[in-house]
């Protein structure tokens, strides 16, 4: 993407004010999307964003600047701006010589989305619309969205690192509205992977549309959700969001370093039930949170965070790992070249358990069964977190019964982790997610088998 000599000169310029470390991050991202809503293909959008972000570190201070101008002058200007922001004591000329590192690659993309005709992409939307509307006359509105992106990145730094990646993602989602005597209800389904158009070899958009429609129709008969602390069974795949919020963010080394995490200082301690082994794995080829290198040029890692209930490690970015004199974990990510990287999750999952999922439900006298989750939020300093349920049912006498209305569940991470009292043998990855932290969004994946939390507070209205 950039000539090696130009990279070396830019890094040298960035170090002229005495920086300890300098980095150039170059990104060229092309995106395209198509939206069907209200019965017709409403709009296609496509675009390109290209530029470089340069950071300079002196001690604990980081200077950062970015530019959309990738010429020698443009890069030098950004390098000087970043250097001015991070002024050290020294100065003078420091030569930098970067060389490419060897990066293990996942499966190559088979069908680059840019080579697929727009008419073919639009055709998927129409299929989904018809399938959803065919699911019942109570389906009164359908929207479907197709999106793909190709993100080429290059990272080079004054430690001599040079690495490149080419990340292709494809996403499809369907949302339905059902109308009944009780008002409106919604249902959504999405599929997204770090692959090309071959996503649709394994993903049947009509089937997805019918599931989204079914979800909205089911909720027309939903009862108000219970309120108060009760047993909660989460279906396969969905529970990943729970761990993402209950402990994932709290294991990010930047928050730990500021004591803004309830998990700070707890490595080696028992933090979860014995059955819990939590892994963050950026190497899972094809998964939504996968990449070959992170946005600081480190190869993706397979990192065990909790092993049999014991906290084994945090997630790290390159700079914090460098400062601690340890190996990074490949968790330094950023939304775009206009942002500084920070510690982020990739694909976060709980290893498979041993129990029969049907038996877990049958063993639950009274509680709720959450079939689909809808995102969440955590305060890492207190550990309190919420996550939404977008498809859930009552469990009465060991059986799944009536659907319940949407709402949040709330718990405290360290407490909830110790209250996981059943783990199924039906591991599945969940829906593609966008994780937000400090205003930056990055794609993340998650997964779990069926699991039960002995007690969680359900935020309904029924008492």
């Amino acid at each position: 993407m950039l000539d090696t000599e130009l990279i070396n000169r830019t890094l040298s310029t960035a170090l002229t004010t005495g920086g300890d470390f300098a980095e150039v991050f170059v990104e060229d991202k092309r995106s395209s999307s198509a939206v069907l809503d209200d019965g017709r293909v409403e709009e296609l959008t496509s675009g390109r964003d290209r530029g470089a972000g340069i950071r300079v570190v002196v001690g604990d201070t980081t200077g950062f600047a970015h530019t959309a101008d990738l010429s020698e002058e443009g890069l030098a200007g950004a390098a000087r701006a970043a250097a001015a922001a991070a002024r050290g004591g020294g100065g003078g000329v420091r030569e930098v010589n970067v060389s490419a590192i060897d990066v293990p690659r996942g499966t190559p993309v088979r069908i680059p989305p840019e080579e697929v005709a727009k008419a073919t992409k639009v055709g998927l939307l129409t299929l989904a619309n018809e399938a959803a509307r065919g699911s019942g006359s109570a389906i009164t509105q359908v929207s479907a969205r197709y999106g793909d992106s190709r993100r080429r990145i290059l990272v080079a730094n004054s430690d001599g690192l040079l690495a490149e990646d080419d990340q292709i993602r494809t996403l499809f989602s369907v949302s339905c509205v059902a109308t009944g005597d009780t008002g409106l209800q919604t249902g959504r389904e999405s599929a997204g992977r770090t692959v090309g158009f071959e996503l649709f070899d394994e993903t049947d958009v009509e089937e997805m549309a019918r599931r989204a429609a079914e979800r909205a129709l089911t909720k027309l008969n939903a009862r108000p959700a219970p309120s108060g602390a009760i047993p909660v069974v989460v279906g396969p795949g969905g529970g990943g969001v729970l761990f993402h919020e209950a402990c994932g963010h709290g294991l990010e080394a930047d928050l730990v370093a500021k004591s803004a995490s309830v998990f700070a200082g707890r490595v080696g301690e028992k933090v979860a039930a014995d059955c819990v082994t939590l892994i963050d794995d950026g190497t899972m080829a094809g998964e939504w949170g996968h990449f070959a290198i992170d946005d600081e040029g480190r190869p993706a890692g397979n990192n065990i965070l909790i092993k049999d209930g014991v906290l084994t490690d945090y997630m790290w970015d390159y700079l914090r790992a460098r400062k601690e004199g340890r190996v990074g974990s490949g968790n330094g990510r950023r939304q775009s070249y206009q942002h500084l990287p920070m510690v982020r999750m990739t694909n976060t999952y709980i290893s498979n358990g041993t129990e029969d999922p049907a038996a877990i439900v049958a063993d639950t006298e009274s509680g709720i069964y959450v079939a689909q989750l809808g995102g969440g939020q955590v305060n890492t300093a207190t550990g309190d977190f919420v996550f939404g349920m977008t498809e859930a049912y009552l469990i009465e006498n060991g059986e799944i019964t009536d659907p319940i209305r949407e709402g949040n569940l709330i718990g405290n991470g360290p407490e909830v982790l110790t209250r996981i009292d059943a783990l199924g043998n039906d591991f599945a990855m969940g829906s593609p997610g966008m994780c937000g932290k400090d205003g930056q969004g990055v794609p993340v994946g998650d997964g779990t088998p069926t699991l039960r939390v002995e007690s969680l507070t359900v935020g309904g209205t029924a008492t």
Binding site: A34, D38, R40, E42, E43, L44, T45, S46, G47, R48, D49, R50, G51, D60, T61, T62, G63, F64, A65, H66, A68, A85, A86, K118, T140, Q141, T179, L184, K219, A225, S227, G228, K258, S259, A260, Q338, L340, L373, G375, G376, Q377, N379, A381, T382, D384, V386, F387, G388, R405, E406, G407, N408, I410, N412, T457, V458, G459, G460, T461, T463
Partner: protein, 447 residues
């Protein structure tokens, strides 16, 4: 003519016969300083620009963008938008905005003093904010973030139908997120201050707010489930209004996604509720003279004395509804076509302070912060359930702090259950103003 408007007008002028073209051009300069332990943690200086082009031909719409204003990119973006339009389906109401004769209110949204403020002074503000927050209370144990952010923003919209408008504004804020600790328990709280230029920022007030919000939650307990009256802090009310704003857009109504679709002229809220969207109010953080399609912003009454009076429209939803745009075309940057949305929602305030409102409540909950608005609130069905923390109200007075609970109702019921509105109207860094709001009969779910 400004450089950006000249550029937008030139691109719009490339429209062929029978084709409408809209060009939206942005240039933004941003500085962000984060302080930590008395030093600069990071200092970012950013300059970004981009163009978004919308093409409508035979009722079909296409959009394309580029994160650069290079001459080559302009033509390529227009060509790509044209190509995209060819694959969309036709809608007779599609089209860019047309001049409607409404003159924009003249607002002072750009303050030269921001551009003249030195980087060193910005750094000093961030460091002072961090210091003042730590010093505000001995129980403040750390700072998760203390930052100064400013932006100098300019954009232009031009269309082949004759729209040509420019937006120029400055804005800055300081915000602190504090950690308080006592007896091994940690709580958090934030504080901020906003302005058009740094002279308007009140660093000590932001620091004091962050410290107070964090320390007053120390010792918080998880109560048992109850149905009670809640007092929403202005910050929480503003977030609730933003969600209600979504349900009052012409787009949600036309597409059958609004719970208020068939209720025009009906009582949808307590009679004390009058809700306006008014981006022409210069006090609003999100004030603007023109909307995302280049039309003048204007005040729109949505609910008057509890009765639903109107919806928000951009030019598409206005045409399709047989009415006109209310100047409510909103954009989330240059990477997408304008949608419809509220820009500066405001409730008519009441006459009593928050303390006076609380004095009437025997058993209640002052909600200081809510979480999970995106996961537990469905603006289509109206289901409302969020995580909450704050202070218990007993016998008209503030009592113990509360944590790890949810509050739940429906949007429909919340509006009907409003018992009081404070006089503490405050513009916040979002598209709504906050004010204390008393709502009866809310379920607080706890242990």
């Amino acid at each position: 003519m400004s450089e950006l408007l000249e550029l937008a007008t030139r691109v719009a002028g490339w429209a062929k016969d029978g084709e409408q073209v809209e060009a939206f051009v942005v240039h933004e300069r941003e500085t962000e300083v984060r302080a930590y332990e008395g030093e600069i943690e990071s200092l970012s200086s950013a300059e970004s620009q981009g163009i978004g082009v919308r093409v409508v031909v035979d009722g079909k719409q296409g959009y394309a963008y580029a994160g650069t204003l290079d001459e080559d990119a302009l033509g390529e973006t227009l060509t790509e938008a044209r190509d995209n339009a060819a694959f969309a389906e036709s809608d007779e109401f599609n089209g860019v905005a047309e001049p409607d004769g409404v003159s924009p209110s003249v607002l002072e949204l750009f303050d030269e003093r921001l551009a003249l403020f030195s980087t060193d002074d910005k750094v000093a503000l961030a460091i002072e904010l961090e210091r003042a927050t730590r010093a505000a209370d001995p129980r403040i144990s750390g700072i998760e973030s203390a930052e100064y952010i400013d932006t100098i923003y300019e954009s232009a919209v031009a269309t082949s139908t004759g729209i040509a408008s420019v937006t120029r504004e400055t804005g800055c804020y300081v915000s602190a997120y504090a950690l308080a600790e006592e007896n091994g328990e940690t709580q958090t709280g934030f504080g901020f201050s906003l302005g058009r230029h740094p002279g308007e920022l009140n660093v000590s007030a932001a620091a004091a707010d962050a410290a107070e919000r964090a320390t007053r939650l120390l010792g918080a307990v998880k109560p048992s489930t109850a149905r009670l009256t809640v007092v929403l802090d202005p910050w929480v009310t503003a977030q609730l209004l933003s969600i209600i704003g979504h349900t009052l857009t012409g787009e949600a109504v036309l597409k059958g996604r609004s719970l208020f679709a068939d209720r025009m002229g009906e009582e949808v809220a307590m009679s004390s509720i009058t809700l306006l969207d008014n981006a022409t109010n210069p006090d609003a953080f999100t004030a603007s003279m023109v909307d995302g399609e280049g039309l003048a912003t204007r005040a729109t009454t949505l609910i008057s004395d509890g009765v639903l009076q109107g919806f928000l429209h951009n030019s598409y939803s206005g045409r399709r509804s047989g009415t006109a745009s209310t100047g409510s075309g909103v954009r989330g940057g240059f990477k997408g076509a304008p949608g419809v949305g509220a820009q500066a929602l405001v409730l008519s305030p009441g006459t009593r302070t928050q303390t006076e409102l609380i004095s009437d409540i025997d058993d209640g909950f002052l909600v200081q912060e809510v979480t999970g608005l995106h996961s537990g609130v469905n603006p289509v069905s109206g289901d409302f359930s969020t995580g909450a923390e704050g202070l218990r109200i007993r016998n008209g007075e503030i009592a113990e702090p509360i944590r790890e609970v949810t509050i739940a109702s429906t949007l429909q019921r919340l509006l009907q259950d409003v018992q009081g509105i404070g006089n503490d109207l405050e513009w916040l860094p979002m598209s709504a103003a906050g004010v204390s709001l008393v709502v009866a009969d809310v379920t607080m779910s706890g242990g």
